[in-house]
Amino acid sequence: MSRNQRKIAGPVASTPYILFTDKLNKPAKLKKRRDGRKDDEQRQIYVKLGVTSQAKGSAYLEMGQTKVIVSVLDPREIPKQNRKSLDGEIQCELKYAPFACQGKSSAELGANEKSLSIALKKSLLPAVCRHEFTNFQIDILIYVLQDDGSVLSAAINCAGLALIDGGIPMYDIITSTTVGVQGDRILLDPTASEEDICKGSSCFNAEHGIVVAARLESHAQTTEFYHIGYILPEKFKKISEYIFSKNEDIAKIVKQALVQKVKEHVVKKGNKDEASN
C-alpha cells in the first residue's frame, strides 16, 4: 500500500486509543450476530458491472459493508520473460484503501495484501481459458474500499464478474463463499468482528476457524479451499458440503447480474437501431 510519507505517525511508544474503548472488550464467544442475521444468512449483495471507463472489464461489489472494485486490463505481452509460455498469465494486485479497516498496522496490511493477491490469483487461474492467451498476461486490479470481513470471497466474486464483463474467455462462472466456525456454530459470511472471534487466537478450548472456498459452478470444481483455525476432520466434511451448497446461491446472483447486463445491452442496441432507422 502506498503510504503518505508526510503523515505524522505519532510518537513511537504510543498506545492506540481503541484499547480504552469497550470495542476491544468484546466476548471471546459469540451469542447473537450483531447485525441480527441468522447463522446461515448471507449479507445483502449489490453488484454493478462496467464501472470504470479505462478498463476492459470492471465490476463493483458490496457484501454488507465490504466493498471492492475490480478492473481487468486488456491482455498485454508478458514483459521481461526469458521463455515463451504456452499458457497466458494472470497478474493480480490487491490493494487496501488507507481507510479500509480499523486497527491494523501498515505492515500487517501489506503482508495481508500480498497473501490475498496470491490466493486470488490461484483461485482465478483454473477459471480462465489461458491457452487462448499464449504469451500474454491479463492484469486484474482489485481495490478494497472497505473491509468488513469475507474480503477474499468478495474479491473473487467481483473479479469473476469483471473478467466476464471484459469478455475474457472462461470455462465457468466462479463464485466464492466464506464461513466462520465458532464452537458448534457455522456462521455464513462473517463480518470483520466475527472473523476476529472465529480466528480465535484467544480461543483455547473450542473449535474455531475461517473457511473460504471458491468454486466453478457447473463443473463442481474447487479452485481454492482455504482454511485456518482448529477444527475436527468431521467438521471439515460438514463445512465443505455446506459451503458448496451456499455457493450456489451466490451463483444465482451472479447469473442474474449478467443477464441484467445483457438485457440492458440489447435494449440500448435496439434504441440505437431505431434511431438510425
Binding site: L24, S115, T223, S240
Partner: protein
C-alpha cells in the same frame, strides 16, 4: 517449485507409475522417502534442526529475543517465520526468484500456528504488557528435492523441541521500566511444549490419484496439490489449515479424500517425529555434548 524440465514421455511414465501404485522410486502412493534429522547443530542459535528428506535439505535456526507484547495481545509472546531460499537449492531462486515461494511457505506456517490451541503464545509471555519472548524462526532451504512444506514443518517442529529459552529468575519494576535477570547457568532453561504443534502434509494430485511426499519430478507432473496442517490434541487430530497450491482445481470428493489422506499421513509422521526426537535426547542426554554430524560428513 524447483523447475525441472520433463518431456511428455517422462511425465506419462510417472503418471502411469502413480496409477499403478508403484512410483519411480518404488514407493506406493502413501509412502514417504527416508529422512535424516539432527537437532542442536547451530551453536549460536537457541535451537536448531536440520532435516534431510531424500534430496530436500532444510536447516532451521531459532533465536530468542526479549520484546514488548503487542498492545492488542498483552499476555502473549511472538513468533516470526522467515524463509530464505538459497540459490544453491535451484538456480531459479537466484535474486528475487524464490521470494514468492518463501512468502507462501512462511504464510502457511504462520497460519497453521495461529490458533491458540496449536501454539500457545501465552507461554512466551514474561510480564503481561511489559515483556515477552519473541522467537525468530529462520528457515534455510539448502536443497530442493520436492515436498518443501512437509520438510519445513517437520524441521521447525524439531527445532522448537530443541529450543532452550533462558529462565527468568527475577523481574523488577523500576519506575516504568522492567529489570529482568536471567539465570547465569546456560543449562537452566525452559523448553517449549511441542505436542500440539502442527505439521504440514502435502497431498499432490497426479492424474486421478493423490500421493504424499511428491518428489520434484512428481510435483512437475501435478497441476494441483493441497497442504493440510494437522495438530494432535487429547489424542484427537485437528485441522489447523488447508491450503491449495498449483494452477489446477479439485473436485469436491477428491478434495475430501485428499484431506483424509493428508490427515492419516500427518498422524503417523507426527508420532514418528516425537519418537525420533525423544530417542535422540535419551541417547545424548538433555544438554549433553554430542558429536555433531552436520553436513558433508
Amino acid at each position: 517449485m524447483a523447475n525441472i524440465l520433463l518431456s511428455d514421455a517422462e511425465k506419462t511414465f510417472i503418471l502411469h507409475g502413480v496409477e499403478e501404485d508403484f512410483r519411480c522410486d518404488g514407493r506406493t502412493r502413501r509412502d514417504y522417502r527416508p529422512m535424516e534429522l539432527e537437532t542442536g547443530i547451530v551453536s549460536h542459535a537457541s535451537g536448531s534442526a536440520r532435516l534431510r528428506l531424500a534430496n530436500t535439505d532444510i536447516l532451521v535456526g531459532i533465536k530468542t529475543e526479549i520484546d514488548v507484547p503487542s498492545p492488542y495481545n498483552i499476555d502473549k509472546g511472538k513468533i516470526e517465520f522467515f524463509i530464505d531460499c538459497s540459490a544453491n537449492a535451484t538456480p531459479e531462486f537466484e535474486g528475487r526468484g524464490g521470494e514468492e515461494l518463501a512468502q507462501e511457505i512462511s504464510d502457511t506456517l504462520a497460519k497453521s500456528y495461529q490458533s491458540g490451541q496449536a501454539f500457545d503464545l501465552r507461554k512466551l509471555c514474561i510480564l503481561p504488557g511489559q515483556q515477552c519472548w519473541k522467537l525468530y524462526v529462520d528457515i534455510l532451504i539448502l536443497e530442493c528435492g520436492g515436498n518443501l512444506f512437509d520438510a519445513v514443518s517437520l524441521a521447525v517442529k524439531a527445532a522448537l523441541f530443541n529450543t532452550k529459552i533462558p529462565r527468568v529468575t527475577a523481574a523488577l519494576m523500576d519506575g516504568g521500566n522492567v529489570d529482568l535477570s536471567l539465570s547465569d547457568d546456560p543449562y537452566d532453561c525452559n523448553r517449549i511444549e511441542i505436542n500440539q504443534i502442527p505439521i504440514l502434509v502435502t497431498v499432490c494430485k497426479i492424474g486421478d490419484s493423490c500421493v504424499v511426499d511428491p518428489s520434484a519430478e512428481e510435483e512437475q507432473c501435478s497441476a494441483a496439490s493441497v497442504v493440510v496442517g494437522v495438530s494432535q490434541r487429547d489424542n484427537k487430530s485437528f485441522l489447523t489449515n488447508i491450503h491449495m497450491c498449483g494452477v489446477g482445481s479439485f473436485h469436491q470428493e477428491t478434495l475430501e479424500s485428499s484431506v483424509e489422506l493428508g490427515l492419516s499421513a500427518a498422524e503417523k509422521l507426527d508420532e514418528e517425529l516425537l519418537i525420533a526426537l525423544k530417542l535422540e535426547e535419551e541417547r545424548f542426554g538433555k544438554y549433553g555434548k554430542k558429536e555433531i554430524f552436520g553436513f558433508l560428513r
